[in-house]
Symmetry: C2
Subunit: 444 residues, 2 copies
C-alpha cells in the first residue's frame, strides 16, 4: 500500500489526476478512472457527496439528511487507485503543477476543476446575509430549523404582523428549486402543520413565489411552464411574476414593483454562479465560469480541465455554456475519464456532445411536469404520470442501495399518511431578528 | 380550540399539569394523562425526544441521528389535551405556582420536574472542557465528527506520537455506556475503518477503557461483569481497572496510578448528576437530585413532583434512590399519571414499587450480557442469545414505527456487510489542539 502522505510521486511512478470537488461531475470522473494505472486524488471540503436535487426535501422535513448523502470513502471503497482527502483548494500553480490546499500542497499531472456553483445574490450583501439558499446540506438543515422554529415561536405571538412574519414564506426564483420548495411548503401547510400546530390558524400561512420573468420554469416547454403555474395556484401558492426583490431587512421584503411582503424566512433560489479556484489566467474566465474547449480543457492549458457547473463550454448553440445541471456534469465527467484513458493510450480524444435527457420539476403530491427525451423522442407530460417518473428517476439516481431503500420507505410512508416526519431542530435556526422581541407574551 | 398563548387559565377552567422535560419519564407521564380533563403542558429545550440508549450507535456511525429521535409534536399528534412548548425552565416559584421559562411565565396546578441528568465531571473543569460525553444527540454527533475527522487528519501525519493521538481512544467509565462504546469502536477498528482508510495501519489504533473500580459493569451480576471483561479483551480493548483520570490537556491523559495515555479523543462516560431547576428549597435536595416520597412528591410540597433521573426516592433498600436508568423513569412517569387521575377523582394514590426488569449491555457484534427478570424469574445470559435479546428490546423500545423499520434495516445491513455507513461529518468536530500543528506535511 502506497502511503500518499509519505510518498514522493517518484516512488509510485504513476501519473496523478487531481480532482477538486466530488459533486456529480467529479464523482463520475473519479469512478471512470477506476482500474487505470493513474493515481486519482479527489479533494473535497465535505467528506460526503450530496444529492443536490433532493435537498429541498430535507429542508421541508420530508427526508432525513443522511439518506441523500454518501461518504466518499464508502462510494470508492472498492477503487484502490482513488485517494480521498478532506481539504479545501486554495490556489492553483500551473507552472509547478501543484494545488495549495488547506492540508498542504498536492502535485498533479492532470488537474480537473469540478468545484460547482454557489448561490448568486447578484452583489446584494443585505440579502446574502439574511436569506437562506439551498445549495448545500448545511443550507437545507438551516432552512428546516428555521421553518420549524418559526412555528414554535408563532405560538407565543399575538400581534398579527409578527404572526405573518413567522408563518409566511417568500421564495425568490421560479426555476425548478423555487417551484419544488413552494410545492413542498404548500403540502406542509395543507397536511402536516395543521396537525402539528393545532393552536395556529393555517389560513394565515402564505407562500409567495417571486419570479423576475413573465413565466416560471422558463427553461422548460410552454406547456410545462403554464401547467406548473396552474398547479401552484391550485395549491394556494401566490406567484408574483415580473418582479424582483430589491431589499430585505430580515422582516420586510420590498419588490421592484413597490409591493411589500412580510416574512422572517426569505428563501433564495434565484441564481447560481460558478465557484472558481484562484490561479488561472483571467482570459479563461467567462463571468464566474471557466471557459473550456470541447474536451473540457481550460483555454490556454494542456493538462488543466474544468467540468460541470464551473465549466463554460461555449458553442454556437450554447453561447453561455451548458445549463448548470446534474446531467451535463455527469456526462462531462464520464467523457473526460474516457478521454484521459485515451490520451494515456496515445489515442485521440472525443469531443463532448450533450445528450439532453430533459428536465423535470415536482409540485407537491401527485403533480409534476416533465419534458423528456427518450430515444431521441420528445415526451412532454404533466400531472400524476410525470410525478411517478420524477420519483423513479430521483430514487434510482441516489447513491447507495440503502439510501434508495430508506428514501422509498419514507416516500411510501408519506404518501399514505400525508405526514412528514423529520421536523427535528438539530443545530441552530437562522434568526435575523432576535426571538426576544417577538415573545413578550406571558402564558397564564 | 384553546389558544394557549392567548388564554388565561380561567377561560379553560381546566387544571394544568406542567411537565419540565420530555425524556422517558416526562413522555410517559404526558401520555398517561391523555383523555383526562387536565391541560398538560410539556416543555423541553429540544423539540424531540431522544432514545438515549442508542446514542452511542449514532456516535460510532452505526445509526443515523433521525432514527433514534422523535419530534414531540409527532408523538402527541393524537393527544388533544397536550400542549408542547420549546422552552427552557429557568426558575420555579412555588408560592405563585409559576415556572419562569425562556419564553415567558407558565402557571401550574401540578408541576412535574423531569429534567433528567447531565454528565458529571466531578468538578474537573479541564476535563469538562476537553472531553466528549454521550448524554445528548449533540454530544453523539460531536463525537462522531471528531472520530472521523481524526482519521482524516491521521492521513497527513508522520510523527508516531501525533498518529497515536489521532488513532487512539480513551473511554472513561466501565458502565454500560463505556463498555458499549468500547465494543463499537473495536468493531470499527476491525471491520470498517481498514476498508475506509486503506493507507493507515490499524494495528496502531488502541482503545482504552478506564474504570475506577476493580470490575466493569459493577451494577450487574459477577458473571456478566466477568464475561464482559473477557469479551472486551478478546476484541482488543485495553481495560485499565482501579484507575482514575486525573488530568487531560487535549493530548495526554494522566491516570491516578501514574500511567500516561495519548489521545485527542477522551470519551467521558464516568458519571451523571441530576439537573435540577432553581427555586426549590435546599432541604429537598440530596446531592444533585430532588428528594421525593413514594408518590414522587417533592419533600415539603403538595403539588410539585420529580420523576426519573432527577428524583431521589430514598428507601431502606435504596439509600441513594433508584438507579438513573430508563426503567425507573418510565415506571414513575406512568404511576404519577395514574396517581394524578386518582387524586382528581378523589381517590387515594398508590405508592411506587420498582419492577426491576434487569440490565443489559452489548459488546460488539454477536456479544452481549444480560441480567433479566422475566415473570419474577432471574435469567442471566451472555453471548449471542443476550445480543439477540438486547437488539429486540431496543428495537421495540424505539419511538415510532418508521424508526423501528429504518433501524432494523440498518442493523441487518450492518450484520451482513460488516459496514457502518454513516461516517458523514455534518457540523464541527471537537478540536482541543488546532489541526495546523498536526499537519505540516506536504503531499508531493
Amino acid at each position: 500500500m502506497v502511503l500518499l502522505s509519505q510518498t514522493k510521486i517518484a516512488t509510485t511512478g504513476k501519473k496523478r489526476v487531481v480532482i477538486i470537488g466530488g459533486g456529480f461531475g467529479g464523482m463520475e470522473l473519479a469512478k471512470s478512472l477506476a482500474g487505470t494505472d493513474l493515481q486519482v486524488v479527489l479533494i473535497d471540503k465535505h467528506n460526503f457527496h450530496t444529492f443536490q436535487p433532493l435537498l429541498y426535501q430535507v429542508a421541508t422535513t420530508n427526508l432525513e439528511a443522511p439518506s441523500i448523502v454518501a461518504p466518499y470513502r464508502k462510494i470508492f471503497k472498492q477503487q484502490s487507485n482513488l485517494f480521498f482527502r478532506l481539504a479545501e483548494a486554495k490556489q492553483i500553480d500551473t507552472t509547478n503543477q501543484t494545488v495549495e490546499t488547506s492540508i498542504g500542497m498536492i502535485r498533479y499531472d492532470y488537474l480537473v476543476i469540478a468545484t460547482g456553483a454557489t448561490t448568486n445574490y447578484y452583489g446584494n450583501e443585505e440579502i446574502a446575509a439574511r436569506a437562506i439558499s439551498i445549495k448545500s446540506l448545511e443550507d437545507a438543515l438551516l432552512l428546516r430549523n428555521t421553518i420549524i422554529s418559526n412555528f414554535e415561536k408563532a405560538l407565543q405571538v399575538e400581534d398579527e404582523m409578527q404572526l405573518n412574519s413567522l408563518m409566511d414564506f417568500v421564495i425568490v426564483g421560479g426555476g425548478p428549486t423555487g417551484v419544488e420548495i413552494a410545492g413542498a411548503l404548500s403540502e406542509l401547510k395543507r397536511h402536516v402543520f395543521p396537525k402539528d400546530y393545532r393552536e395556529l390558524d393555517f389560513v394565515k400561512m402564505d407562500i409567495h413565489l417571486i419570479q423576475s420573468g413573465g413565466e416560471i420554469l422558463k427553461g422548460m416547454s410552454p406547456a410545462a411552464s403554464k401547467k406548473s403555474l396552474k398547479m401552484l395556484n391550485d395549491l394556494g401558492v401566490r406567484v408574483w411574476l415580473n418582479r424582483r426583490v430589491i431589499s430585505y431587512d430580515g422582516f420586510a421584503v420590498k419588490l421592484s414593483t413597490g409591493e411589500q411582503l412580510v416574512t422572517r424566512t426569505l428563501i433564495w433560489a434565484a441564481g447560481v454562479s460558478g465557484l472558481p479556484v484562484n490561479g488561472l489566467s483571467e482570459e479563461c474566465m467567462q463571468d464566474s465560469r471557466i471557459k473550456v474547449d470541447e474536451f473540457n480543457r481550460v483555454a490556454g492549458y494542456d493538462n488543466v480541465f474544468a467540468i460541470g457547473d464551473i465549466a463554460a463550454m461555449v458553442t454556437e448553440e450554447m453561447p453561455h455554456g451548458y445549463p448548470m445541471l446534474a446531467q451535463p456534469a455527469i456526462q462531462q465527467g464520464k467523457l473526460l475519464g474516457r478521454n484521459i484513458r485515451r490520451w494515456e493510450a496515445g489515442k485521440a480524444a472525443k469531443p463532448f456532445k450533450y445528450n439532453d435527457m430533459g428536465t423535470m420539476a415536482t409540485i407537491g403530491k401527485n403533480h409534476a411536469v416533465a419534458d423528456l427525451m427518450v430515444f431521441k423522442k420528445q415526451i412532454r407530460t404533466q400531472g400524476f404520470r410525470a410525478w411517478l417518473i420524477w420519483m423513479f428517476v430521483h430514487l434510482m439516481s441516489l447513491v447507495g442501495f440503502r439510501n434508495r431503500v430508506v428514501v422509498l420507505i419514507n416516500w411510501v410512508w408519506k404518501y399514505f399518511t400525508n405526514d412528514a416526519g423529520f421536523g427535528t431542530i438539530i443545530g441552530k435556526p437562522k434568526e435575523n431578528i432576535p426571538v426576544e422581541k417577538v415573545t413578550e407574551k406571558v402564558l397564564v
